[in-house]
Protein backbone atom coordinates (compact mmCIF):
# COMPACT_ATOMS: atom_id res chain seq x y z
CA UNK A 1 0.00 0.00 0.00
CA UNK A 2 1.33 3.44 -0.93
CA UNK A 3 1.71 5.92 1.93
CA UNK A 4 -0.96 8.68 1.84
CA UNK A 5 1.57 11.49 2.26
CA UNK A 6 3.63 10.14 -0.63
CA UNK A 7 0.56 10.14 -2.87
CA UNK A 8 -0.26 13.78 -2.12
CA UNK A 9 3.38 14.91 -2.43
CA UNK A 10 3.59 13.23 -5.84
CA UNK A 11 0.25 14.66 -7.01
CA UNK A 12 1.13 18.22 -6.00
CA UNK A 13 4.76 18.26 -7.22
CA UNK A 14 3.85 16.55 -10.47
CA UNK A 15 1.01 19.02 -10.98
CA UNK A 16 3.26 22.04 -10.38
CA UNK A 17 6.09 20.58 -12.49
CA UNK A 18 3.76 19.75 -15.40
CA UNK A 19 2.30 23.24 -15.34
CA UNK A 20 5.80 24.73 -15.36
CA UNK A 21 6.64 22.66 -18.47
CA UNK A 22 3.41 23.72 -20.19
CA UNK A 23 3.65 27.40 -19.27
CA UNK A 24 7.41 27.59 -20.02
CA UNK A 25 7.08 29.01 -23.52
CA UNK A 26 3.50 30.23 -23.97
CA UNK A 27 3.77 32.05 -20.67
CA UNK A 28 7.30 33.36 -20.46
CA UNK A 29 8.08 34.01 -24.14
CA UNK A 30 4.58 35.19 -24.99
CA UNK A 31 4.59 37.76 -27.75
CA UNK A 32 8.37 38.35 -27.76
CA UNK A 33 10.00 37.46 -31.06
CA UNK A 34 11.92 34.23 -31.15
CA UNK A 35 14.99 33.91 -33.41
CA UNK A 36 14.44 32.58 -36.96
CA UNK A 37 16.33 29.34 -36.34
CA UNK A 38 14.16 28.53 -33.31
CA UNK A 39 10.96 29.19 -35.28
CA UNK A 40 12.29 27.07 -38.13
CA UNK A 41 12.72 24.11 -35.74
CA UNK A 42 9.34 24.68 -34.10
CA UNK A 43 7.60 24.41 -37.48
CA UNK A 44 8.51 20.70 -37.39
CA UNK A 45 7.60 19.90 -33.76
CA UNK A 46 4.22 18.40 -34.62
CA UNK A 47 5.28 16.35 -37.63
CA UNK A 48 8.29 15.00 -35.69
CA UNK A 49 7.10 14.32 -32.17
CA UNK A 50 3.61 12.97 -32.90
CA UNK A 51 4.83 10.29 -35.36
CA UNK A 52 7.60 9.43 -32.86
CA UNK A 53 4.95 9.00 -30.17
CA UNK A 54 2.88 6.69 -32.38
CA UNK A 55 5.51 4.66 -34.27
CA UNK A 56 6.41 2.24 -31.42
CA UNK A 57 2.68 1.67 -30.72
CA UNK A 58 2.18 0.67 -34.36
CA UNK A 59 5.24 -1.56 -34.64
CA UNK A 60 4.94 -3.15 -31.19
CA UNK A 61 1.24 -2.90 -30.18
CA UNK A 62 0.65 -3.34 -26.45
CA UNK A 63 -2.57 -5.31 -27.08
CA UNK A 64 -0.64 -8.13 -28.77
CA UNK A 65 2.07 -8.13 -26.12
CA UNK A 66 4.45 -6.27 -28.44
CA UNK A 67 4.10 -8.67 -31.39
CA UNK A 68 3.78 -6.94 -34.77
CA UNK A 69 0.20 -7.40 -35.92
CA UNK A 70 -0.92 -7.28 -39.57
CA UNK A 71 -4.37 -5.65 -39.06
CA UNK A 72 -2.85 -2.84 -36.98
CA UNK A 73 0.08 -2.25 -39.35
CA UNK A 74 -2.17 -2.18 -42.42
CA UNK A 75 -4.71 0.07 -40.66
CA UNK A 76 -1.92 2.53 -39.81
CA UNK A 77 -0.70 2.61 -43.43
CA UNK A 78 -4.26 3.05 -44.77
CA UNK A 79 -4.86 5.92 -42.30
CA UNK A 80 -1.72 7.73 -43.49
CA UNK A 81 -2.51 7.19 -47.18
CA UNK A 82 -6.13 8.31 -46.76
CA UNK A 83 -4.92 11.40 -44.90
CA UNK A 84 -2.32 12.21 -47.55
CA UNK A 85 -4.75 11.75 -50.45
CA UNK A 86 -7.91 13.36 -49.04
CA UNK A 87 -6.23 15.85 -46.62
CA UNK A 88 -9.27 15.18 -44.43
CA UNK A 89 -8.80 13.99 -40.83
CA UNK A 90 -12.20 12.37 -40.50
CA UNK A 91 -11.96 10.44 -43.76
CA UNK A 92 -8.54 9.19 -42.60
CA UNK A 93 -9.90 8.09 -39.20
CA UNK A 94 -12.87 6.33 -40.83
CA UNK A 95 -10.60 4.57 -43.35
CA UNK A 96 -8.23 3.42 -40.58
CA UNK A 97 -10.94 2.19 -38.22
CA UNK A 98 -12.82 0.38 -41.02
CA UNK A 99 -9.62 -1.32 -42.17
CA UNK A 100 -8.69 -2.35 -38.62
CA UNK A 101 -12.08 -3.89 -37.78
CA UNK A 102 -12.45 -5.54 -41.19
CA UNK A 103 -9.03 -7.19 -40.93
CA UNK A 104 -9.48 -8.18 -37.27
CA UNK A 105 -12.83 -9.74 -38.23
CA UNK A 106 -11.40 -11.59 -41.25
CA UNK A 107 -8.23 -12.81 -39.57
CA UNK A 108 -9.57 -14.01 -36.21
Amino acid sequence: MIDTNTIWIVIVSLGLGSFALRFSFTGLVGNRRMPQWVLRHLRYTAVAILPALVAPLVVWPSATGGEADAPRTVAAVVTILAGLITRNVFVAIAAGVTTLYALLFLMH
Partner: protein, 238 residues
Protein backbone atom coordinates in the same frame (compact mmCIF):
# COMPACT_ATOMS: atom_id res chain seq x y z
CA UNK B 1 -12.85 40.46 -34.86
CA UNK B 2 -16.58 39.88 -34.58
CA UNK B 3 -17.74 37.61 -31.80
CA UNK B 4 -19.64 35.36 -34.22
CA UNK B 5 -16.46 34.18 -35.97
CA UNK B 6 -14.81 33.62 -32.58
CA UNK B 7 -17.83 31.56 -31.61
CA UNK B 8 -17.59 29.65 -34.89
CA UNK B 9 -13.93 28.85 -34.14
CA UNK B 10 -14.94 27.53 -30.72
CA UNK B 11 -17.60 25.22 -32.19
CA UNK B 12 -15.20 24.07 -34.88
CA UNK B 13 -12.70 23.15 -32.15
CA UNK B 14 -15.38 21.30 -30.24
CA UNK B 15 -16.29 19.23 -33.30
CA UNK B 16 -12.62 18.51 -34.07
CA UNK B 17 -11.94 17.49 -30.47
CA UNK B 18 -14.89 15.11 -30.18
CA UNK B 19 -13.32 12.08 -31.97
CA UNK B 20 -10.57 12.06 -29.32
CA UNK B 21 -13.13 10.79 -26.85
CA UNK B 22 -12.35 7.39 -28.38
CA UNK B 23 -8.83 7.76 -26.96
CA UNK B 24 -9.52 9.67 -23.76
CA UNK B 25 -12.39 7.57 -22.38
CA UNK B 26 -10.67 4.15 -22.31
CA UNK B 27 -7.37 5.72 -21.21
CA UNK B 28 -8.89 7.55 -18.24
CA UNK B 29 -11.04 4.55 -17.23
CA UNK B 30 -7.87 2.48 -17.22
CA UNK B 31 -6.12 5.03 -15.02
CA UNK B 32 -9.03 4.95 -12.56
CA UNK B 33 -8.90 1.16 -12.44
CA UNK B 34 -5.13 1.01 -11.90
CA UNK B 35 -5.20 3.81 -9.33
CA UNK B 36 -7.79 1.91 -7.27
CA UNK B 37 -5.75 -1.29 -7.58
CA UNK B 38 -2.68 0.64 -6.35
CA UNK B 39 -4.64 1.63 -3.24
CA UNK B 40 -5.59 5.22 -4.08
CA UNK B 41 -9.04 6.28 -2.90
CA UNK B 42 -11.58 8.04 -5.12
CA UNK B 43 -10.53 11.55 -4.08
CA UNK B 44 -6.84 10.79 -4.68
CA UNK B 45 -7.50 9.23 -8.09
CA UNK B 46 -9.59 12.20 -9.14
CA UNK B 47 -7.12 14.74 -7.73
CA UNK B 48 -4.38 13.01 -9.72
CA UNK B 49 -6.27 13.45 -12.99
CA UNK B 50 -7.30 17.04 -12.24
CA UNK B 51 -4.01 18.35 -10.83
CA UNK B 52 -1.56 16.53 -13.12
CA UNK B 53 -3.73 16.09 -16.22
CA UNK B 54 -1.24 14.12 -18.28
CA UNK B 55 -1.98 10.53 -19.25
CA UNK B 56 1.41 8.89 -19.70
CA UNK B 57 2.95 10.81 -16.78
CA UNK B 58 0.14 9.69 -14.46
CA UNK B 59 0.61 6.02 -15.42
CA UNK B 60 4.36 6.33 -14.87
CA UNK B 61 3.99 7.92 -11.43
CA UNK B 62 1.47 5.29 -10.38
CA UNK B 63 3.67 2.40 -11.48
CA UNK B 64 6.76 3.82 -9.75
CA UNK B 65 4.85 4.43 -6.52
CA UNK B 66 3.61 0.84 -6.60
CA UNK B 67 7.24 -0.23 -7.06
CA UNK B 68 8.19 1.79 -3.93
CA UNK B 69 10.61 4.04 -5.79
CA UNK B 70 11.78 7.10 -3.75
CA UNK B 71 9.35 10.02 -4.08
CA UNK B 72 11.83 12.40 -5.75
CA UNK B 73 12.60 9.80 -8.42
CA UNK B 74 8.87 9.25 -8.99
CA UNK B 75 8.38 12.97 -9.65
CA UNK B 76 11.48 13.44 -11.82
CA UNK B 77 10.79 10.35 -13.96
CA UNK B 78 7.17 11.31 -14.53
CA UNK B 79 8.17 14.86 -15.47
CA UNK B 80 10.66 13.42 -17.96
CA UNK B 81 7.80 11.44 -19.51
CA UNK B 82 5.83 14.70 -19.74
CA UNK B 83 8.75 16.68 -21.19
CA UNK B 84 7.11 16.79 -24.61
CA UNK B 85 4.47 19.26 -23.35
CA UNK B 86 7.26 21.87 -23.08
CA UNK B 87 7.92 21.30 -26.79
CA UNK B 88 4.20 21.65 -27.51
CA UNK B 89 4.21 24.87 -25.50
CA UNK B 90 7.12 26.22 -27.58
CA UNK B 91 5.44 25.18 -30.82
CA UNK B 92 2.15 26.93 -29.90
CA UNK B 93 3.82 30.14 -28.73
CA UNK B 94 4.22 31.79 -32.19
CA UNK B 95 0.45 31.33 -32.66
CA UNK B 96 -1.06 32.19 -29.26
CA UNK B 97 1.76 34.18 -27.62
CA UNK B 98 -0.21 37.37 -28.31
CA UNK B 99 -3.15 36.36 -26.12
CA UNK B 100 -3.63 37.86 -22.61
CA UNK B 101 -1.53 36.16 -19.95
CA UNK B 102 -4.51 34.66 -18.08
CA UNK B 103 -5.68 32.97 -21.28
CA UNK B 104 -2.18 31.63 -21.93
CA UNK B 105 -1.94 30.32 -18.35
CA UNK B 106 -5.31 28.61 -18.62
CA UNK B 107 -4.44 27.18 -22.05
CA UNK B 108 -1.08 25.97 -20.69
CA UNK B 109 -2.81 23.77 -18.12
CA UNK B 110 -4.80 22.13 -20.93
CA UNK B 111 -1.83 21.38 -23.23
CA UNK B 112 -1.96 17.62 -23.85
CA UNK B 113 -1.29 15.50 -26.96
CA UNK B 114 -4.84 15.85 -28.29
CA UNK B 115 -5.38 19.59 -27.75
CA UNK B 116 -1.93 20.34 -29.16
CA UNK B 117 -2.31 18.11 -32.21
CA UNK B 118 -5.72 19.52 -33.20
CA UNK B 119 -4.76 23.14 -32.63
CA UNK B 120 -1.41 23.13 -34.40
CA UNK B 121 -3.02 21.40 -37.42
CA UNK B 122 -5.67 24.13 -37.54
CA UNK B 123 -3.20 27.02 -37.04
CA UNK B 124 -0.93 25.72 -39.81
CA UNK B 125 -3.84 25.15 -42.20
CA UNK B 126 -5.25 28.65 -41.55
CA UNK B 127 -2.30 30.97 -40.88
CA UNK B 128 -4.48 34.10 -41.17
CA UNK B 129 -6.60 33.13 -38.15
CA UNK B 130 -6.58 35.99 -35.58
CA UNK B 131 -5.32 35.22 -32.04
CA UNK B 132 -8.76 35.37 -30.31
CA UNK B 133 -10.09 32.79 -32.77
CA UNK B 134 -7.06 30.57 -32.21
CA UNK B 135 -7.67 30.68 -28.45
CA UNK B 136 -11.39 30.01 -28.96
CA UNK B 137 -10.56 27.03 -31.18
CA UNK B 138 -8.12 25.65 -28.57
CA UNK B 139 -10.72 25.82 -25.79
CA UNK B 140 -13.29 24.31 -28.14
CA UNK B 141 -11.04 21.24 -28.43
CA UNK B 142 -10.61 21.23 -24.63
CA UNK B 143 -14.36 20.99 -23.97
CA UNK B 144 -15.05 17.39 -25.07
CA UNK B 145 -11.64 16.05 -24.00
CA UNK B 146 -10.90 17.40 -20.55
CA UNK B 147 -14.11 16.89 -18.56
CA UNK B 148 -14.16 13.34 -20.00
CA UNK B 149 -10.67 12.78 -18.60
CA UNK B 150 -11.87 13.65 -15.07
CA UNK B 151 -15.24 11.92 -15.24
CA UNK B 152 -13.97 8.65 -16.67
CA UNK B 153 -11.11 8.48 -14.17
CA UNK B 154 -13.84 8.37 -11.53
CA UNK B 155 -15.84 5.82 -13.55
CA UNK B 156 -12.75 3.60 -13.74
CA UNK B 157 -12.06 4.00 -10.03
CA UNK B 158 -15.65 3.14 -9.13
CA UNK B 159 -16.43 0.42 -11.64
CA UNK B 160 -13.02 -1.22 -11.87
CA UNK B 161 -12.58 -4.26 -14.10
CA UNK B 162 -11.09 -4.35 -17.59
CA UNK B 163 -12.23 -3.05 -20.97
CA UNK B 164 -12.75 -5.90 -23.40
CA UNK B 165 -9.64 -6.17 -25.61
CA UNK B 166 -11.88 -7.23 -28.55
CA UNK B 167 -12.59 -3.60 -29.41
CA UNK B 168 -8.90 -2.96 -30.14
CA UNK B 169 -9.19 0.42 -28.38
CA UNK B 170 -5.43 0.39 -27.87
CA UNK B 171 -5.27 1.45 -31.50
CA UNK B 172 -7.57 4.49 -31.22
CA UNK B 173 -4.58 6.68 -30.34
CA UNK B 174 -2.34 5.68 -33.28
CA UNK B 175 -5.19 6.04 -35.79
CA UNK B 176 -6.43 9.43 -34.62
CA UNK B 177 -2.90 10.84 -34.46
CA UNK B 178 -1.80 9.45 -37.84
CA UNK B 179 -5.00 10.87 -39.36
CA UNK B 180 -4.08 14.29 -37.98
CA UNK B 181 -0.43 14.17 -39.03
CA UNK B 182 -0.82 12.94 -42.63
CA UNK B 183 -2.53 16.11 -43.94
CA UNK B 184 0.22 18.19 -42.27
CA UNK B 185 2.94 16.61 -44.44
CA UNK B 186 2.96 19.38 -47.04
CA UNK B 187 6.63 19.70 -48.02
CA UNK B 188 9.74 17.53 -48.36
CA UNK B 189 10.92 19.04 -45.06
CA UNK B 190 7.79 17.83 -43.23
CA UNK B 191 8.17 14.33 -44.68
CA UNK B 192 11.88 14.19 -43.81
CA UNK B 193 11.18 15.35 -40.24
CA UNK B 194 8.50 12.68 -39.78
CA UNK B 195 10.57 9.86 -41.28
CA UNK B 196 13.67 10.63 -39.21
CA UNK B 197 11.56 10.94 -36.05
CA UNK B 198 9.88 7.58 -36.72
CA UNK B 199 13.17 5.74 -37.30
CA UNK B 200 14.80 7.41 -34.29
CA UNK B 201 11.82 6.59 -32.04
CA UNK B 202 12.11 2.90 -32.96
CA UNK B 203 15.88 2.85 -32.51
CA UNK B 204 15.64 4.70 -29.16
CA UNK B 205 12.60 2.75 -27.89
CA UNK B 206 14.52 1.07 -25.07
CA UNK B 207 15.86 4.31 -23.55
CA UNK B 208 14.17 4.69 -20.14
CA UNK B 209 11.76 7.43 -18.98
CA UNK B 210 10.41 8.00 -22.48
CA UNK B 211 13.55 10.01 -23.30
CA UNK B 212 13.77 8.21 -26.66
CA UNK B 213 10.70 10.21 -27.68
CA UNK B 214 12.40 13.52 -26.88
CA UNK B 215 15.55 12.47 -28.76
CA UNK B 216 13.52 11.30 -31.77
CA UNK B 217 11.40 14.47 -31.77
CA UNK B 218 14.45 16.71 -31.57
CA UNK B 219 16.21 14.79 -34.36
CA UNK B 220 13.12 15.11 -36.58
CA UNK B 221 12.85 18.85 -35.91
CA UNK B 222 16.55 19.40 -36.74
CA UNK B 223 16.25 17.48 -40.01
CA UNK B 224 13.05 19.32 -40.94
CA UNK B 225 14.68 22.70 -40.31
CA UNK B 226 17.78 21.72 -42.30
CA UNK B 227 15.80 20.43 -45.30
CA UNK B 228 13.78 23.66 -45.26
CA UNK B 229 17.05 25.66 -45.45
CA UNK B 230 18.29 23.57 -48.39
CA UNK B 231 14.98 23.87 -50.27
CA UNK B 232 14.89 27.67 -49.84
CA UNK B 233 18.48 27.94 -51.06
CA UNK B 234 17.68 25.86 -54.11
CA UNK B 235 14.59 27.88 -55.05
CA UNK B 236 16.63 31.07 -54.60
CA UNK B 237 19.18 29.61 -57.07
CA UNK B 238 22.16 29.99 -54.75
Amino acid sequence: MSSSTTKAAFWQGLRDGAPFLLVVVPFSVLFGVLATEAGLNLVQAMAFSIVVFGGAAQFTALQLMVDNVPTAIVVISSLAVNLRVAMYSASLTPYIGGAPVWQRALAAYFIVDQTYASSIAKYEAEPEMPVPQRIAYFFGVVVPICPAWYVFTVVGAVVGGQISPEYALDFALPITFLALIAPMLRTAAHVAAALVAIVASLVCATIPYNLGLIIAGTAGMMVGAQVELWSTKRTNGQ
